[in-house]
C-alpha cells in the first residue's frame, strides 16, 4: 500500500517535471532572435515551422506577424488578411504605400500579387527592417522600396510632390505605443492629398476602448462615410475609406467572386468579406474628433 503511494507520488512528480520541461522548452527554446531597438524590444520566436515576430514581449504584447516557413504565402493573422479587403474597391493598384512594416507579410503579398506595382514601405524602426529581412524573407526589389522614416512626414512630402497612391495601408498602430500624430484629422487630410478618386485607404486600428469612438468620429469627418470591417475572430477593426461615394454592395460581391480564387493561396477568403463590410454607425458620435490639437490616443486607449 505504502509502496503504491510512493510509486504514485513518483509518477506524479515525473509527470509534473515533464510538463514543466515542456513548458520551459516552449518559453525558452523558441526564441531565435532578440534585439533591443531604439523603439522597442524585438523578439523572433519559432515553434515548429511557425515563426513569429513580437514587440515588447516582456510587457505582454501580442505577435506582430507570424509566418509558416513551409507555406510562406499563407497569411497567418486575420488583420493581415483583412488588409486586402480594399482590393474589393481597388482591384488593380499600380502604386501602393504601406506605413508600418512588421514582418513584411503585407508588402510581400502585394509584391506577389502585383509584380509591376510600385510599392513603398515606410517603417520608423530600422531594426524592424533588418529583422524582416533576416528572418521573414522580406527584401527590397526594383519595385519595392523600404524607407526608414516616420509615416506622417513621408506622406506630407509625397503630397507636396504631388504623388498619388492607389492603395494605402496604415498599419502603424499595432503594438504598445500609438503614434498619436497619425490618428488626427489633419493627418487624414494629408493622406487624402495623396489619393485620387480611385484610391483606397485601409487602416488597421482598434476595436476596443474609448479610442474606437474618437477614431471613428475622426474618419467620419474626414471621409463622410467609410466601411467598417470586423471579424468575430479578430480583435482588430479595419477602416476602408475612399474619396467620394462608396460603391454599391453588389459591386463588392461581384469583385470578390472575380478576385477571390486568386487570393485563396494567401488564406484571404475574399468572398467572405463583402457581407462583413458595414457603414453602420456603432460608435458614440458625440465623442470629440482627434486633431493635432487634441490627440491623447495613448490615454484614451487605457480608458
Amino acid at each position: 500500500m505504502k509502496n503504491n503511494s510512493i510509486k504514485r507520488t513518483l509518477a506524479d512528480f515525473s509527470l509534473l517535471m515533464m510538463v514543466f520541461c515542456c513548458a520551459c522548452s516552449i518559453v525558452i527554446a523558441e526564441t531565435i532572435h532578440e534585439e533591443r531597438s531604439k523603439y522597442r524590444d524585438i523578439t523572433v520566436t519559432q515553434v515548429g515551422d511557425r515563426r513569429c515576430l513580437l514587440f515588447n514581449v516582456h510587457r505582454g504584447d501580442r505577435n506582430q506577424t507570424c509566418m509558416v516557413l513551409n507555406d510562406r504565402n499563407n497569411l497567418v493573422f486575420d488583420y493581415t488578411r483583412m488588409s486586402f479587403a480594399g482590393l474589393l474597391l481597388q482591384p488593380e493598384p499600380s502604386s501602393i504605400l504601406i506605413i508600418g512594416l512588421g514582418g513584411g507579410s503585407i508588402p510581400m503579398t502585394f509584391a506577389d500579387l502585383f509584380p509591376d506595382a510600385k510599392i513603398d514601405v515606410v517603417e520608423i524602426d530600422e531594426a524592424v527592417v533588418k529583422v524582416a529581412e533576416e528572418y521573414f524573407y522580406f527584401n527590397e526589389t526594383e519595385n519595392m522600396t523600404a524607407y526608414i522614416d516616420d509615416g506622417r512626414p513621408f506622406i506630407k512630402r509625397a503630397g507636396i510632390r504631388g504623388e498619388k497612391y492607389d492603395y494605402i495601408v496604415l498599419d502603424a498602430f499595432s503594438g504598445d505605443y500609438i503614434p498619436e500624430h497619425m490618428l488626427t484629422r489633419e493627418f487624414l487630410e494629408e493622406v487624402k492629398a495623396i489619393m485620387t478618386e480611385n484610391s483606397i485607404l485601409v487602416a488597421n486600428t482598434f476595436s476596443t476602448s474609448r479610442l474606437y469612438d474618437h477614431e471613428s468620429v475622426t474618419y467620419q469627418r474626414a471621409f463622410n462615410e467609410f466601411y467598417n470591417f470586423k471579424l468575430p475572430t479578430s480583435g482588430n477593426r479595419i477602416i476602408i475609406a475612399k474619396l467620394g461615394m462608396l460603391p454599391p454592395r453588389e459591386q463588392l460581391v461581384a469583385e470578390s467572386r472575380r478576385a477571390g480564387p486568386q487570393l485563396e493561396k494567401y488564406g484571404v477568403r475574399l468572398t467572405d468579406y463583402p457581407r462583413r463590410l458595414t457603414t453602420r454607425v456603432d460608435w458614440d458620435m458625440s465623442r470629440r474628433e482627434l486633431t493635432d490639437q487634441y490627440s491623447p490616443g495613448n490615454l484614451l486607449r487605457g480608458n
Binding site: 531604439k38 520608423i124 516616420d150 506630407k156 507636396i160 500624430h181 486633431t291 487634441y294 490627440s295 491623447p296
Partner: protein
C-alpha cells in the same frame, strides 16, 4: 537653518520669500509643460521618432544653460523686482509665437531640411530657445533675491532648486497625464502664458506695495 530673520532685514528684502518660492514653482511648471507639448507640436512635421524628443530636450537644455548664465550675470547688477517681473512677462510674450505662428515657423524648415533630426532641431531652436532661456534666468535671479548672507546661500539655492524642480515634476505629470486629455495643445499653452504673465503682475504689484509702504514709512519718519 532658520528662515525667520530679524524684522529689519525683512523690510530690506526686495520681495517676500514666499513669493519668490512660489515663482520658482511656476517657472519650473511652465518650462516642463511647454517641453512636454513640444513633441506634439513638432510631430505633424517631423514625426514622432526618438530624434524629435532628442532635439527638443537638447534645445531646452541649451536654452536653460544660457538663461542660467545670463540670469546670474544680471543678478549681480542692481537686482530689482522689476527686472524679475520682466523675466516672467518676457517669457510669456516670447511663448506667444509657439501658439500663434508654429505652422509658419515649421513649414519652411520642413520644406528646406529633409532630415527630420535637423529639421526638428532647427524648429525647436526657433520655437523654444528664447522663451526657455528667459525662464532659465529666473532661477539664479531668485537665488540672489532670497539670499541675504553668505552662510545661507547654499540653503536658499537648495530650497529654490527643490521647489522649481518640484514644479517641473508637477508640470510634466499634469501635462502628460491629464491636460492633454482635457484640453487642446494651444489651450494648455495659453494657460502657461497667462500663468507667467500673472506671476509677473504679482511681482510688480508686490513692488508697488513695497514702494507705497516705504513712502508711508518714510513720510511718517520725516514728520517725527
Amino acid at each position: 537653518m532658520k528662515l525667520e530673520k530679524p524684522l529689519r532685514k525683512k523690510q530690506n528684502r526686495i520681495l517676500p520669500r514666499a513669493i519668490i518660492t512660489g515663482m520658482a514653482f511656476v517657472s519650473g511648471f511652465c518650462i516642463m509643460t511647454v517641453e512636454m507639448l513640444g513633441a506634439r507640436i513638432l510631430s505633424p512635421y517631423f514625426g514622432g521618432s526618438l530624434s524629435v524628443w532628442g532635439s527638443i530636450i537638447t534645445i531646452f537644455m541649451l536654452a536653460l544653460a544660457f538663461g542660467y548664465l545670463v540670469g546670474g550675470t544680471l543678478s549681480a547688477r542692481n537686482p530689482s523686482g522689476k527686472t524679475y517681473a520682466m523675466f516672467f512677462i518676457g517669457a510669456a510674450l516670447f511663448s506667444l509665437p509657439v501658439i500663434l505662428f508654429a505652422d509658419f515657423i515649421m513649414e519652411p524648415i520642413f520644406l528646406s531640411i529633409d532630415d527630420p533630426r535637423y529639421g526638428s532641431l532647427f524648429a525647436s531652436i526657433f520655437l523654444f530657445f528664447i522663451p526657455t532661456s528667459i525662464l532659465g534666468m529666473i532661477s539664479p535671479y531668485s537665488v540672489r533675491l532670497m539670499v541675504e548672507s553668505e552662510e545661507q546661500s547654499g540653503s536658499m539655492a537648495g530650497l529654490l532648486y527643490f521647489v522649481s524642480t518640484l514644479g517641473s515634476a508637477a508640470g510634466t505629470l499634469g501635462t502628460s497625464f491629464y491636460f492633454v486629455l482635457w484640453f487642446e495643445v494651444n489651450q494648455i499653452l495659453w494657460g502657461a502664458v497667462l500663468s507667467l504673465a500673472f506671476a509677473g503682475c504679482i511681482i510688480l504689484f508686490c513692488e508697488y506695495l513695497k514702494k507705497a509702504n516705504k513712502g508711508v514709512a518714510g513720510g511718517a519718519y520725516e514728520k517725527q
